[in-house]
Symmetry: C2
Subunit: 302 residues, 2 copies
DNA sequence: CGGCGACATACCTTTCCTGTATGCCGGTTG
DNA sequence: CAACCGGCATACAGGAAAGGTATGTCGCCG
């Protein structure tokens, strides 16, 4: 509630604030209107949107309240002595640009006493390390987590088609798989992430199309422009679009493939530090609006 | 949320806290459990219920946060300059023990700058004063408010049967109208509150019973023990039970009569002070748990 | 005066909260 | 020591509140 007012005040408009809050404009307008009715005070002038004098007072006070609420949580955790210890987390390479930096930042900000040992690797290595008891938390897409671990969805997103700038379809906004018939699907070698690989291919083939796969021997997003010049394409989760180098185009996929889920998994009977890392990751996911779709299927702990 | 923790801490048990919060125990337990999971910290020991060390820290911090939120509202209203002016309220005599004192107290506490001019009277007089433009707000049960006024339910409650201590049924917990067949229903003279009078009699007669009404020439709750010795009975809204003198018994009515509603009504285009009084009354109603049943029917402004 | 951008309104869907019913555990008592 | 009882936890269902989608309306600007 108070967050909403602050967001509108900072963004300067209802629309911009709604986007920042990962919601749409109408419910935001409604919430502000209800609050104004409850207070009996107009907080904003409309058209153009601008704070009233009373609105300025409210925003200032609201900032203090929210900061106080944050501090309440922090002080409580400190009193409980749970902000100590270490958590060993392993994550797939494709989360190292967007998701993991945000999770690490949140951990440093809210739980500076917890030591986070991070290990970036491809799925196969992560799976082995977890099985050997070297990791407490895993982050990845379709990882083979040890049998009785728990897990929860962090992000659910669509696939996009990635082509080089010289590709004949590079100017299009969206493509369907039929448009790509006959072209080569570039993929990293299956052994790096077998379950993910199989999952993508299976859902592609479920459309009835056939696919010619060419396994790129040198995986890595940085040198995509080498392998993707004017022919061939890749399929990637949408969130990776922002991390691609220049000379690469992201095209919306018009076919309705099932969304690809990024999950966090953790061992049973975790230490407080481990659960804090898991909770922080999920909190970041909510804050960033990564969970527009419905939650997952099995072995959830909500 | 923070209110819940504070309530449990102060009440010393989940059950007692739930009652104080006008809710039941299971959802309260659930909310606290969820918060404890979110924090990763146990706030209470169970069996017996007692604050943990971290819980004490949280309660202290939460009190500050809630106080800050209150202050935010207050400061905003002061900046808007809406806590001035006057509101003229008229209310039925039966609300002068429980409801109105709480509303007045809330107004003094939160809006000391607003001058509240109060007028206690029977319905007929209130109706006339409102029609003559002498009142801005009305509080009563089935008042004849001016045509285009708005209104909202403040309280919805059952009727109880009131008998003297010497009555043959005085020891019973509940009675039905059939048990009272042949006895005299005591009522104040109809002219004091015609709509309320008719409403009660109509819903009584809708049960199929017949009623012998004796209009007590001297209305007033204080001298009930005079008119109710060992025979005869009255029907009153349940909330009045607490205000009756000694020597009087309140019996639950087993027949399912429609609940009787206490409403607040106000003129259109009210001044800020008037709307503040209305909002405060409704806030008190929510806080006190007067609205367990569903809201009313027509001419509502939610 | 017509088009556009931005907030308001209407309506529907979904989620979360609360109530009811019931289970379970610990403490107490005969 | 066993069985009862008081009090918190769990399961399930109904309903209010929050969010999404579609569309209206108002200023502003050309």
């Amino acid at each position: 509630m108070m967050r909403y007012v602050i967001a509108v005040a900072e963004a300067g408009s209802f629309e911009a604030a709604a986007e920042r809050l990962h919601m749409t404009q109408p419910p935001l307008s409604r919430q502000i209107r209800d609050l104004e009715r409850e207070l009996g005070v107009n907080l904003f002038h409309r058209r153009p949107t601008r704070l009233t004098e009373a609105g300025r007072v409210f925003v200032e006070a609201a900032r203090e309240v929210l900061a106080g609420a944050e501090q309440a949580v922090e002080r409580t955790r400190r009193a409980a002595g749970v902000d100590h210890g270490a958590a060993r987390v392993g994550y797939t390479v494709t989360t190292s640009f967007d998701e993991m930096p945000k999770v690490f930042a949140a951990m440093r900000a809210r739980h500076p006493g917890i030591r986070v040992e991070a290990r970036e690797a491809w799925d196969a290595e992560l799976t082995g390390a977890a099985a050997d008891g070297e990791l407490d938390v895993l982050l990845g897409r379709h990882l083979a987590v040890p049998a009785e671990w728990l897990s929860a969805v962090l992000r659910s997103e669509e696939f996009v088609v990635v082509v080089g700038a010289g590709h004949r379809l590079a100017g299009r906004a969206g493509v369907s798989l039929r448009d790509l018939r006959g072209e080569t699907l570039r993929f990293f070698p299956r052994r790096f992430a077998p379950l993910y690989y199989d999952r993508v291919l299976a859902s592609l083939r479920s459309t009835g199309e056939e696919f010619d796969v060419w396994e790129n021997p040198l995986p890595g997003l940085r040198n995509l422009n080498v392998s993707l010049s004017d022919s061939g394409y890749m399929l990637l989760p949408r969130s990776l679009c922002g991390q691609l180098p220049g000379g690469i185009a992201c095209l919306r996929l018009e076919d309705r493939l099932p969304p690809i889920e990024l999950r966090v998994s953790w061992q049973r009977n975790p230490s407080p530090a481990v659960m804090t890392l898991v909770r922080t990751a999920r909190r970041v996911a909510r804050r960033e609006g990564w969970l527009t779709a419905a939650p997952g299927t099995a072995r959830e702990q909500p």
